[in-house]
């Protein structure tokens, strides 16, 4: 976490923003940098990243999209400094922060994008003991999320289940054929699995507690970018949060946009996803609670070594969010 002193020093150096000026009497300075780099890697649930492009321009930025490579996602691009800000899954983000990566989490976006599907042999999470679970890879978002769920019900993800690593389409087929017992779906997979009547929902993180009470997607920025560009960080976060509101308010338009821009093919699945995800929660839920909750689960799963408090102190900064909650209501 950036200290109060660093934050104020950055503001002063960057924008001529007098430290002694009361915040309420000062106008927001221009961003310290005219360019912001965002990832072109977008999933349906991270649609606010797509919507934010015009809003970032309105905040004074030239937007540069960084093309995600096949082996690297938004989070890795942020950590490497190739991308300044983006939306990432909380589990992998915590793992990266624990590994010393240069990432600062700024806000939550929404809970609820993952859904666990199982065969008839699986009725609850505890039924997964001794079962086969398909994931795209160890360390992938589905693997990390499901590991947190397993530890929450007292199972050890390292010993109590058998992980089968397969590409997504193959994993879905394995579930359909009953050759694996469970598969963690991310949008638009849950919509597709339901439509094709493959498996059944075991845990829906949009509806089932405790998962529905915590963010799964959050805004993360490169730590050096945040430190050097506090005004730009706040402006960029404002664009992302406005975009999040727009996803809640105008799902039909955003679903069409996702198809028009070829991020997905099925408008009906995209619309179902956007309607199901509670984007309006960014004001209500405490993002620190989400980081603490998932850090505890990941520590139990042996996936991180740091305490939740260390993850929070090293990898989060809520100051911008707290200011924006007062400026942007809905």
């Amino acid at each position: 976490m950036i200290t109060r002193r660093e934050f104020l020093t950055g503001l002063t150096a960057a924008g001529g923003f007098a430290v002694s000026t009361p915040r309420s009497a000062a106008s927001e300075p221009s961003p310290e940098t005219g360019t912001i780099r965002v990832s072109s890697s977008i999933a349906i649930c991270t649609a606010p990243q797509l919507v934010s492009e015009d809003l970032l321009r309105a905040e004074g930025f030239t937007v540069v999209q960084h093309g995600a490579q096949a082996t690297i996602g938004t989070l890795e691009e942020v950590a490497a400094g190739q991308v300044d800000i983006g939306i990432s899954f909380i589990g992998p983000t915590i793992v990266q922060i624990d590994g010393g990566q240069s990432i600062t989490v700024l806000a939550g976006v929404h809970p609820g994008c993952f859904e666990l599907f199982g065969t008839d042999r699986v009725r609850s999470l505890k039924d997964l003991k001794g079962k086969k679970i398909a994931v795209v890879g160890l360390g992938s978002s589905p693997h990390i999320f499901l590991s947190t769920m397993l530890t929450h019900v007292g199972l050890d993800p390292r010993k109590d289940v058998e992980w089968i690593t397969k590409p997504r389409p193959e994993s879905v087929e394995l579930l359909r054929e009953g050759k694996v017992d469970a598969y963690m779906g991310f949008p638009p997979e849950p919509q597709e699995l339901r439509a094709r009547k493959i498996g059944h929902s075991v845990v829906n993180s949009a509806a089932d507690r405790p998962w529905s009470q915590y963010f799964c997607c959050m805004v993360a920025a490169n730590r050096d970018f945040v430190r050097k560009n506090p005004v730009a960080t706040k402006r960029a976060l404002r664009a992302f949060l406005k975009a999040t509101d727009i996803c809640a308010l105008e799902p039909e338009r955003i679903a069409r946009n996702l198809v028009d821009k070829k991020f997905t093919q099925r408008e009906d699945y995209a619309l179902a996803t956007l309607r199901e995800l509670p984007y309006a929660r960014w004001r209500e839920y405490n993002p620190e609670d989400s980081v603490r909750f998932y850090s505890l689960r990941l520590r139990e799963a042996g996936m991180i070594k740091s305490s939740p408090q260390k993850i929070i102190s090293q990898g989060t900064d809520w100051r911008f969010l707290n200011e924006l909650k007062k400026e942007l209501k809905g």
Partner: protein
């Protein structure tokens, strides 16, 4: 139930985001109105279009009810400005009819139109994006911005589901600040 995160203290001042984007557009009476003309008043600036059949009328009705609750301050100290996002169709006459049909009457209201370029520019600078659909509707962001007496942008409301009591409280808070 978690507490709403944006519940400021009773006496908390609203933040100052920056100078509100200026505009000078055509009123429903055919005159011109600039944001600068509203200096000394608290203004709520929003975006609508007259043939909108779903959300715009709800927003207009919500604001009209708020205007009534402002009492004698509405018009004298508070102005509501509705800018069309469909300037090709929303002539001053069309906007005047829309205002009458939705109860947005009185000196506190201004419905504005302009050239497509003018409207596009002001909408973008307020962070509102509009696009005509194949059906002839206009997809646009519902964003209402509160501007203080000195012309500073203080708070923005997304959508139409906001709490009218909260907006009324913010308008009154800006009135209490007086001129700056």
């Amino acid at each position: 139930m978690p507490a709403l995160a944006h519940q400021p203290g009773r006496d908390a001042r609203l933040p100052t985001i920056g100078a509100a984007p200026p505009f000078a557009l055509t009123t429903a009476d055919g005159g011109r109105l600039a944001l600068a003309d509203l200096r000394g008043k608290v203004a709520a600036v929003t975006f609508i279009y007259a043939t909108c059949t779903d959300t715009c009328p709800l927003l207009t009705a919500k604001l009209a009810a708020l205007g009534k609750r402002m009492g004698k301050d509405f018009g004298a100290k508070v102005a509501f400005v509705a800018i069309t996002v469909d300037p090709e169709r929303d002539t001053p006459d069309v906007l005047r009819s829309y205002a009458q049909a939705h109860g947005a009457r009185g000196a506190g209201w201004a419905f504005l139109t302009g050239t497509p370029a003018e409207i596009k520019d002001v909408a973008q600078r307020y962070g509102v994006f509009a696009r005509k659909t194949d059906r002839g509707d206009v997809d646009h962001t519902f964003l209402t911005s509160l501007v203080d007496r000195a012309g500073a942008l203080r708070v923005q409301y997304m959508g139409v589901r906001f709490d009218p009591d909260e907006m009324l409280s913010d308008l009154r808070s800006l009135l209490r600040e007086g001129g700056r």
